[in-house]
Subunit: 123 residues, 2 copies
Amino acid sequence: MRIGELAAKAGVSVRALRYYEEQGLLVAERSPSGQRHYPDSGVDQVLLIQQLYAAGLPSRSIRAVLPCVETGEATPELLEWFTAERDRIDRQMRDLASARDRLDSLIVGATAVWRSGRPCPAR
Amino acid sequence: MRIGELAAKAGVSVRALRYYEEQGLLVAERSPSGQRHYPDSGVDQVLLIQQLYAAGLPSRSIRAVLPCVETGEATPELLEWFTAERDRIDRQMRDLASARDRLDSLIVGATAVWRSGRPCPAR
DNA sequence: CTAAGACCTGACGTTGACGTCAGAGGCAAG
DNA sequence: CTTGCCTCTGACGTCAACGTCAGGTCTTAG
């Protein structure tokens, strides 16, 4: 399939796909005229890339992770790197959880105040 | 206390504090010569700001949240906003969790391969 | 008094993941 | 064969949270 179709199926922009290729995250066959062609598996690959981006991994880390996801292998240095990234994600999840709890208690508290008969909460 | 001391106590840069003020997140008294002076409670305020930034909230959202954290009140529109932000954080936590699990299984798998007698994993 | 820091404003630089635009070429339908 | 959409490369724009630098002021220890 061509780049537009892949973009639509994976829910990303055409620009993003070209950027992924530029970053070495996604390879594409080229037609004689230079147009990119992707296999069906490209959709899952892009979804994986998106998932890793969503986790806050920079392109360089994703570039390191991707081949290992395919082969299931890694060098000890890479393992150390991945472990560090995983720990970073763990910390970020804790940060998110505490911020979420703070927002949550704010919401619950304000809703309680609001339902207790106050005309309309202060601005 | 002055800005350098607050920066040290809160673990952020002086530049960051001036930026927070610029964004309306942090107020400071001014000495006649124009220097900023903060109360002791400034430390906790900065830590809270940092926590919200760490959760991915942009300055505008933080600016909306901060007064409500103090008063415990909020308008219905703000509540809707906060709920949306909380849901976004929830989604982000799920994204992080799935990416972490993927990294984790990669780590576990690669470590198993590595310990099963392979000379040194492929690069 | 003076020198060393700390502080001020204002402004430009940085980074990452794209958005957007320009100008040119490719491809299937009619 | 042309029309209209898709694609190409290359390059500049964006946005947020600061970093960094310049040039000047303030404060405080000696």
